[in-house]
Every structure is written in C-alpha cells, then in structure tokens.
Amino acid sequence: MSDIVQQGAAPRTVARRGLTPTRRMLQIAVGRMDFRIGFVGFVLLVGLSFLLPLISPIDPIKIAYSSKLLPPFPAEGWRWPYLLGTDQLGRDVLMRCLVGLRYSLLIGLTTVILMFIVGCSLGLYAGFRGGWVDAVIMRLTDAQLSIPMIILAITILGVSRPTVPAIILVLGLSGWPLYARVARSVALGERNRGYVLGERVLGASDLRIMVLFVAPVVLPPIAFVAVLDIARMMIFESILGFLGLGVQPPTPTFGNVIADARKYLLNAWWIATMPGLFMLVSLTCLNLMGSALERARNAVLRGEA
C-alpha cells in the first residue's frame, strides 16, 4: 500500500518542478477554497450580466407604468418575470442591475489596466534611473496627487460630455500616481541588489535589466493589489454616477439607479438596495480572488511549493 503511494508521488513532484513560477502560483491559488468561491461567484455574475440582457426580452430602459413599484420575489404582490421587482417607472430592477454591473466592470477593469501600465512603467523607470528623471516624474505625481479626484471629475466631466472613455480617463488620471510611487519605491530598493549588479557585469542594458529582472520582482505584488483596486474603481464609478457625472441616464448604472431610488427608499427599498447588493457580492468575489492570489505568490517565493 505504502509503496503505491510513493510511486504515485514521485513523478508528480518532478512534473511540478518543471512548471514556471507563474503557473505554480495559479495552481496553488486555484487549489484554495476562497479563490474558488470568489471565482465561481464572479464568473456567474459576469456571465449573467453579459448574457441575460442579450437573451431576455425585457428592456431595461422601457417604461411601463402599469407595473411600477412591484416588490421583489418572495414579498406579497410580486409578478413574473420581475424577480427583483420594478422601479418607479416600471423598469425591471434585475435587468437594470445587470447592465449597471456590466458598465461598472468595464470601467473598473480598463481603468486599472491603464493605471497599472502607465503608473508602473513611469515608477519603475524613475526608481531605476534615479537622478533628475526620478525627480521630474515624482514631482509630476505630487502635482497629480494634490488635485482631489472629485474636483478633477467635475472639471473634466462637466466641461466635456461624461462618456465612458472620459470617465476612464478621469479615474486613471487620479489613480496612476499611487502605482508610480509604489513601483518606484520597490525599484529603488532593487536597483543596487546583487543580481542587478551581476547583470550589469554580464553586459546587459538598462532596459533589459528593467524589463526582464526588475519588473518581474516589482510588478506581481502590485498586480495583486491591482486586482483589489478593480473593486475600488467600481466604487468610484458608482460615486460619479451618483453625483450625475457618470454614464448618463437612461443607461442604468449602479450610481444613477441608487441616486434616483433615494426618494423611494421608504416605500420601495428594493430599488436602491438591489444594486448595492450586486456591488457587494461582486466586490467580495473580486477581493477573495485577489487575496488568494497574493497568498499563493508568497507561498511560491518562500519555496513552500
């Protein structure tokens, strides 16, 4: 019995050693329960938000006074197919939430990718080169950080039209300095490490060292924080929507749905609560995945797997 187990175990460890670190990290993350829960929840929500509005006959912006203010499913007076009830204009809350989630995810993800690319490359360059390059880039981040996000949003979105690209631009502008700062501080520490000196002696160019050696050390921890930042950006998107600076009605977003539903909070609580619930669930799933990824990475780098 025992030698069967050993025979089975030996080739597996060899196979695992052949994998790249990134693959191993993902493997460990997938093996974790919190990642699985987050992943399943997130995929379900994303799938729903992209598929259901396509196949369902219900139009999220079609007004129907006959069916206004219907309560959600178990409550008395609900009506099929309005599972989560309807709002003050008789529009289906579920459908509106899903469309809102779609915009929220789209904007959150794009913003984070944009911030990550711009912030990290500038920060990495500043930290690695040092000197006046560093000084200029860091003063730029100072300048950017001194402008509050809301003021920036009102200025840009108020002057131009609040379209999706404009919203992404505003959020990205206010977020990149953080990434630049973190990337710079880590790159500063790596600049004089032994392996960088070793590469220099071998004759590698600065760009090669930065992209091939410093970036893989510096970026993954930031990338995992970035997964958590998607959640933050989704919240900002709804704040903008709440203030009327987000995607404009009649397109539903979490922000403008909640803003409109405030007036009905006492007698139709579900209109404002349902989008909040959707946000809560999707953000929780995102955060679960983010933290599981980070733990997996730590385990690999500590040599535990």
Binding site: Y195, G198, V217
Partner: protein, 603 residues
C-alpha cells in the same frame, strides 16, 4: 583543585517542531574552574549557541531543556525560581554576543544603558557610583576618552569599540563567569586580535572565568587553556588546548584541524607564469561626496581609493587584501566598471575602458567577469537555473538553442546536477548558488574573473571544493583571477602576487612568499600577526600587533596615512606621504624607512 564554579552534568536540549523531536544538545557534561578560560569549538549548527543559552536558562519553545543540571556557585540554575535566576543572570554570569549593534538601544547614550543595566541587577548601587564604575571599565577596555564617549549613541561607535562596550556591559557587575559567544566573528582581524588580547589581560586582573565559544579552533587557542570540541550536540573530545591541537584523538577533531589552512608550515606558494598583461590599473582615484550632517550644502570627501596601480598578467592569481573600509569594495566596482574612476585609467587587454564606445564596452564585458560575495542576493529569484545561465549568452546575441547547449555544458562543468536545470534557486545551498554564478561567468569564456569575497559566505569544505574548481578552470581556459578578500589563508593558498590595501592605497605589493615571510610594511606584519593560527606565528603579537583603529577616510592625516598606528613612525613620516617604492625582486612597499634589521630577525 578548588571547587568548580560551573558544573554541567548530562544537559540535554530538544527541538520540537511539527511533532518531531530533534536533540540539539545531547548529554553534555563539563566543569569550569574559577578564573579559567574554557574554549568551545564546533562547526556551525553543532549546538554551541544553544548550549550557551541553556547554561543561563535562556531557552524558549520550540527549544526545551529536557535533562541535566547546571550547578553554578553551588546552586542548580535549572531549578531556581525566577527571582533567584534574575539575580544570577547578567549579574553573576555575563554574556557577550556576536551582534553588539543589535544588543544596544540605538536611541540611548551608551553609558546610560550600561548604568541602567548595572543598577537593575545590583539595585543597591547608587547612580553616581554606577557611573564611576562604568567609566572605570571604559578605561580598562581602552576606550579612548571614556567620559566623552559615555554620552555618545551606539551609531557613533565602530564595530570594535562596540564590542568593547559589550565587554564592559558583561563585566561591570563583576561576574564570576562570562559566556562569550563568537565575539570576534563580526570584527576585522586586527581588531579581533586586539579584543582577544584585551580579554586575556582583563581575566588576569579580574579573576573571571570565561566560556569562550567560536567555530574556529585557532581563535579559541589564543585564549583557552582547555577546550571542548562539540559535534552534533555532543562533546566529542576535551582536553588541554595545546594537546588537542598537537595530537587530536577523535576523527572529528582531526577533520577540524585538517581544514585549517596552513600559513607558514608546509605551504607551497603558487608560482606565477609570466604572461601578457591582461588588466592594467594605473593610478586610479575614486572619491565620494557625502553631504555633511547638519549643513545645507557642504560635502565631505571620502577618499575611497587613492592612486592604486597594479598589473594582472595572463594566468596569474592576484590577491587584494585589507580590512573593512580600506577601499577593497570600491576598487572592485571600479575593476568591474560598475563605476568610473575619477582619475587614472583602467586598461583591459591594452584598451582603456573609459575610451570605449557603449557597444565595444558591452563586447569587452564578455572578457572580464565579477563574482559577487552574497550568493543569495546575486541571483534573480524567479528564474529557473538553466535560463539564468543562458542569460549572459542571450545578452550577447547568441541564439536560444546554442545558448541552452552551452549553458548545459557549463552546468556540468561547475558540478551542478543536470536535473536542477528547471528549478528555481529557492532552497539551494550557498555553494550551489556560487556555482551558478561561476557558470554564468564561465559561459562567456572570459579572460579575467574578479572574485569579491566570493568564498567568504561558504564553509571550509565548500570553499575547498570551489578552489579546486577554480584551479581546474584555470588549467583548462587560462583564466586570470583577482581575489579580493580579507582572508589571508585563502590568499596564501591561491595567489601569486598580493597587494595589501590600507585606507584606499596599496601599501605593499609583493609575491606570495615574500609577503608572508619577509614583509616590508609594518601594516602587513600587523595583519599577519593578528591572524589566529595554531602554528607558531612568525610575527608575535607583542611586537607587531597594532593599537587603535584606522583614521576616517574623510580627514586623513598629513604625511603617511599609516603613521597614527605605526610602531616605528618617525618625524619625517608626518611630512612625506610615501609612494610605492621598488624593493628587490619586483616587490613594492610604501614605507619611507628601510627596515633591513627587522627584516633580518623575523622569527
């Protein structure tokens, strides 16, 4: 024989981790007489430090004392109640560790910390009296101007001075036993020799017993009358130190002794082959500017390297030795062209590196490589081994298949297991990591390898293996090596010619035999004299050992920079800074005075 002050019997300490029990200290018994110095040697991991901590019951889980007795001054320490224990620890038993910086609070003045310690173990002593006592001890360990340094913070002390402070800290309560755990390990060789001499003097005047722990038998032999040899938690041999060194009875002791490299007895100094000049360093200068504290725009000049010149020939091993702060590391960075010199020139294969274009410099880098000291930091953590060794080839534009083939060859050549090829460096030993570094340098087929303390992180066995590897590679490819090291024994074994550096300058440059047997410069003699060795030292401490510490490279004394410590400085040394003067046999020394007489009567 009087009653022993410390009697240990059947002491056992276990390590419990994840349900497994490992015996760290196994059934140890020994006794220590009042005023005696007992040595304890053993390699890293043999349980020396755990034993030292068990003696004062400073053992915390996962470690646990499972058996035995430690009778100190008639009472068993292991069964004392906490209050009685507190009266013994730090009071009757003093402790000096290897990390003086970590044992002091960085915010408080040194003197105040020791006064506080003294009054906490002996509350009956008044503040003023405690202060006087600490000052008195500062004088006895020869800390210059004690009353001024009493008020200084730890960061203002050098490593050697800090270790003296720790000695005061241990001795100030007038203990009858002091446990000294590896105290010379972080120190430079001349400073370590001073500390040993100091302890030797103190114990004679104080009648304190010492348990002197070290991984090196020669270090212990300088002080201890009797020595215990420890292996895997057990005392395998004990006896008079001189006897132990002369006729060891146990195989383990013999192994320990055989690993001590010889300096004078039975050495074959390697002899140089005369080749073309590979590296020519000509009057190189490097000065750093450091902002002066408390000022806005004033800078201090740190003269790290001051006019160094030498030549390394093909197939030659060139050694550079010196203590910390002598400019070795800066010189390394200059040689590897990681930094450019402020003055002078470095020519490689006849080409001045500062005149090369970026492209030809990259091309040139193929032929000189640097091996760094730290085997852990010098490898990128997230890269498989084979890819790491391919890296230099990819940088220089080889295609992938060719690079992989040559990397695999190099792995075999340096003795790395082929099945490690796709693993990450995590979990590899220091020796294996240095082999990777050697392979990375090797694949480019360089002409010159610069070794910056490359072997200092390795134990004796690994060192010996790598030195053999270096010799083999040299025989195959005709490399030249530059060994930069503080380890004189290593240099003695490997190098054809050796330069001794002091405060950024070469003070003596001579062939191996001359440097070790007939050195000209007083500093070289001091270095040799400070070397702990079981052999008869040709340069006895009493005559050659230095006092004091090197002056700061920020304000160097006028004239000869060594004169502040030189035992034979004369008036003209204050005015003239001696250049490297040619001696017989192609050797050089930077000393104004010819010391034929002294040279003649080296013992």
């Amino acid at each position: 024989m009087s009653d022993p002050i410390l009697a240990v019997s059947n002491l056992g300490v276990d390590l419990q981790r994840e349900g497994r029990i490992k015996r760290i200290v196994d059934n140890v018994s020994f006794a220590l007489q009042p005023g005696e110095v007992l040595g304890l040697v053993g390699e890293a991991g043999s349980g020396k430090s755990v034993l030292a901590r068990a003696l004062v019951r400073a053992i915390a889980p996962p470690l646990e004392i499972v058996s035995g007795k430690v009778v100190f001054e008639g009472r068993d320490i292991l069964s004392l109640d906490p209050r009685a224990l507190a009266r013994v620890r730090g009071n009757r038993i003093g402790f000096i560790g290897a990390n003086p910086m970590g044992s002091l609070d960085p915010r408080l003045p040194i003197g105040q910390q020791i006064v506080e310690k003294l009054r906490s173990v002996q509350p009956e002593i008044g503040r003023a009296e405690a202060r006087d006592r600490v000052l008195d001890f500062f004088g006895r360990v020869r800390i210059p101007s004690p009353s001024a340094r009493f008020h200084e913070a730890p960061f203002q002390f050098s490593g050697g001075m800090m270790q003296r402070v720790m000695i005061v800290d241990a001795l100030v309560s007038d203990p009858s036993l002091v446990i000294a755990d590896n105290i010379t390990q972080p120190l430079d060789v001349t400073v370590a020799a001073q500390i040993i001499r100091l302890i030797d003097g103190l114990r004679q005047s104080l009648n304190t017993a010492f348990l002197f722990i070290s991984s090196s038998l020669p270090v212990v032999a300088q002080l201890a009358e009797r020595t215990l040899v420890m292996q895997r938690g057990q005392i395998v041999e004990q006896g008079l130190t001189s006897e132990l060194a002369a006729n060891p009875r146990q195989p383990y002791t013999r192994t320990l002794l055989s690993r001590i490299p010889p300096i004078w007895k039975d050495v074959m100094a390697p002899t140089a082959t005369d080749g073309e000049a590979v590296l020519k360093v000509d009057n190189v200068v490097r000065t750093y500017f450091v902002r002066r504290r408390g000022s806005f725009n004033a800078y201090n000049q740190v003269q790290a390297v001051r006019g160094v010149s030498f030549t390394v020939k093909a197939g030659e091993n060139f050694g550079i030795v010196g203590e910390s702060g002598c400019g070795k590391s800066t010189l390394t960075r200059l040689l590897a062209w990681l930094e450019q010199p402020d003055g002078g020139r470095i020519a490689f294969l006849g080409k001045d590196l500062s005149h090369l274009s970026a492209h030809s410099l990259t091309e040139m880098r193929k032929s000189f490589q640097l091996l760094l000291q730290d085997p852990y930091g010098s490898l990128p953590a997230g890269m498989p081994l084979l890819r790491m060794i391919e890296e230099p080839l990819l940088i220089h534009g080889f295609d992938r298949a060719e690079a992989a083939r040559r990397a695999q060859e190099a792995m075999i050549e340096v003795g790395l297991d082929a099945e490690l090829a796709h693993r990450l460096p995590v979990g590899l030993s220091a020796g294996q990591r240095q082999r990777i570094n050697i392979a990375r340098a090797l694949v480019l087929r360089p002409r010159l390898l610069i070794l910056d303390e490359t072997l200092s992180a390795l134990d004796q066995v690994e060192q010996a293996e790598l030195l053999d590897l270096f010799n083999r590679l040299q025989a195959t490819y005709g490399f030249s090596y530059v060994f930069i090291s503080h380890d004189l024994a290593l240099v003695r074994r490997m190098c054809h010619r050796i330069a001794v550096m002091y405060l950024g300058r070469i003070v003596e440059l001579a062939d191996n035999t001359t440097l070790f047997e007939q050195p000209h410069h007083p500093y070289t003699r001091a270095l040799l004299s400070a070397m702990p060795t079981l052999e008869h030292n040709h340069f006895p401490h009493t005559r050659y050992l230095l006092d004091g510490e090197p002056p700061s490279p920020i304000d160097l004394p006028l004239g000869c920079s060594f004169r502040s410590r030189c035992p034979r400085a004369e008036n003209d040394c204050q005015k003239t800074d001696p250049p490297l003067l040619a001696l017989a046999g192609g050797n050089y020394a930077a000393c104004l005075h010819r010391h034929e007489k002294e040279t003649a009567d080296v013992e």
